[in-house]
């Protein structure tokens, strides 16, 4: 394919796109990474940084296995990144909690977990439901309102903003051509190559990997793929830096290696990333203070809202185009948890030119047609 500028053009400079680019560059491919601008929608700047296993996979058992695969690969992945960049993304897997503030919440947890683990074909792993005193042994600062929790020893967290920076540092070192402010308007296929049209010019590549988050919905049909999405907004509250007080991540509250406490996990039907609902931040703050009363006087220094990348059923989409060979799409909500998979498993598949059905067939977007027909 003479005249190609790149072996692969990856669309989307967030965690999914950067991890995929890094994996492709490790396979020796010439990669272009096309990104949007500084103020465009960026889920990767707004995530909660959990490497999370518990409660993943209800409704699609294969998702639990895929998640555990990445969780298990994360330690080695972070070591590789450190070797290449000198940057420590602070991956830790001490196990994680989902705290319940009422019996009703705890029952709901238990019920979800029961249904999840009863599914046919589900990978075997343990999530325990604990009462207040059991939780207090591991999280001594919980308040009296915490009635219990679910706990999974496979859960962990990472410094996701440093991960974002580390991936960009790593792809730069590996010679990936990073093209910011290159919003892809259209993609065409001419003479056996893909042409990606942007306001800053055309980029040509033999293959294309769409990792543009919710924008995949717009881009995928251009290469014979589909990515049905339903974006939602989440808000996070961040405190000042504190001395370490919390040894485990909680699904809605974690202390970063820098000392700040992130509080969050709201869901609103909105696609405006600039808006912020104070009442939602207030609810998050109220629950955080009930969970950990010692946080009451701590200062909130930032809040943010971001648009979650969410497929219509919440599970990832990995697909390759039949009509446009060489075109791939990657969509997922858990760009941090699945980062190791994208870098170490999916990127090599794209480099080889075909997805490994044994691993990712359940995540084809064709499942949406089956559901629609059924």
């Amino acid at each position: 394919m003479a005249g190609d500028e790149f072996d692969v053009a990856v669309v989307g400079g967030g965690l999914v796109g950067a991890a995929t680019s890094w994996g492709l560059a490790r396979e020796g491919l010439r990669v272009a990474l096309l990104d949007e601008g500084d103020r465009d929608v960026r889920a990767s700047r707004g995530n909660f940084a959990l490497v999370w296993v518990q409660s993943k996979g209800l409704g699609l058992a294969a998702y639990a296995g895929w998640t555990i695969r990445s969780s298990n690969a994360w330690g080695g992945f972070s070591d590789l990144l450190k070797q290449e960049t000198g940057l420590d993304v602070c991956f830790q897997r001490p196990g994680g909690f989902h705290l319940a503030l009422s019996e009703k919440e705890l029952e709901a947890r238990a019920s979800i977990l029961k249904r999840l683990h009863a599914q046919p074909g589900i990978v075997d792993y343990k999530t325990e439901v604990l009462d207040h005193s059991q939780v207090a042994r591991m999280l001594p600062d919980i308040g009296p309102d915490v009635v219990g929790a679910s706990y999974c020893s496979l859960d962990g967290h990472v410094n996701s903003l440093r991960l974002f920076r580390t991936l960009h540092t790593a792809i730069n070192a590996r010679g990936v051509t990073y093209l910011p402010s290159h919003r892809v308007e259209t993609i065409t296929r001419e003479g056996g190559e893909f042409r990606l049209h942007t306001a800053k010019g055309e980029v040509r590549a033999a293959k294309v990997a769409l990792a543009a988050g919710n924008a995949n919905m717009r881009l995928a049909p251009m290469v014979g793929l589909e990515a049905p999405m339903r974006p939602e907004r989440g808000q996070i509250v961040v405190t000042e830096r504190l001395r370490p007080f919390l040894d485990y991540p909680v699904v809605t509250l974690r202390q970063t290696d820098e000392g700040t406490v992130m509080i969050g996990d709201s869901k609103e039907e909105s696609t405006d990333p600039s808006g912020l609902t104070i009442g939602v931040s207030s609810t998050e703050a109220e629950r955080a203070v009930r969970q950990f009363p010692l946080l009451a006087n701590v200062n909130v220094v930032r809040t943010w809202s971001a648009i979650r990348v969410m497929t219509q059923d919440g599970f990832p989409i990995y697909d390759e185009s039949e009509s446009h060979p060489g075109a791939f799409v990657l969509c997922c909500h858990s760009g941090v948890t699945l980062c190791a998979n994208h870098a170490l498993t999916v990127a090599p598949m794209i480099a080889r030119g075909a997805l490994d059905k044994a691993l990712v067939a359940p995540f084809s977007a064709r499942r949406f047609h089956v559901q629609a027909a059924g």
Binding site: E240, R241, V298
Partner: protein
Amino acid sequence: MFKRLDDTGATVSLKVDGKPIRARAGDTVAGAMLAAGVEHFRTTPVTESPRAPYCLMGVCFDCLVAIDGVGSRQACLIEVREGMAVETQLGKREAGR
């Protein structure tokens, strides 16, 4: 670093790191500390390097101290009160304090 132009006026007493100091009523905590010769207000939570007020107008946050047991208060915006206990803040704040 600073001295008072006029040493008259009602005074209040407060403590900085346990040491009694005298301030003029209406002083900000930061002003009272500077007048009392306090050189370091805090060390940073990042590298624990020493800091003292930079702007004195509420924008730089380098005058953060603990006042009456509550950390990270802007000393330049808060008026002194009789019996106030001020502590310089070392590194990261402790949750619950």
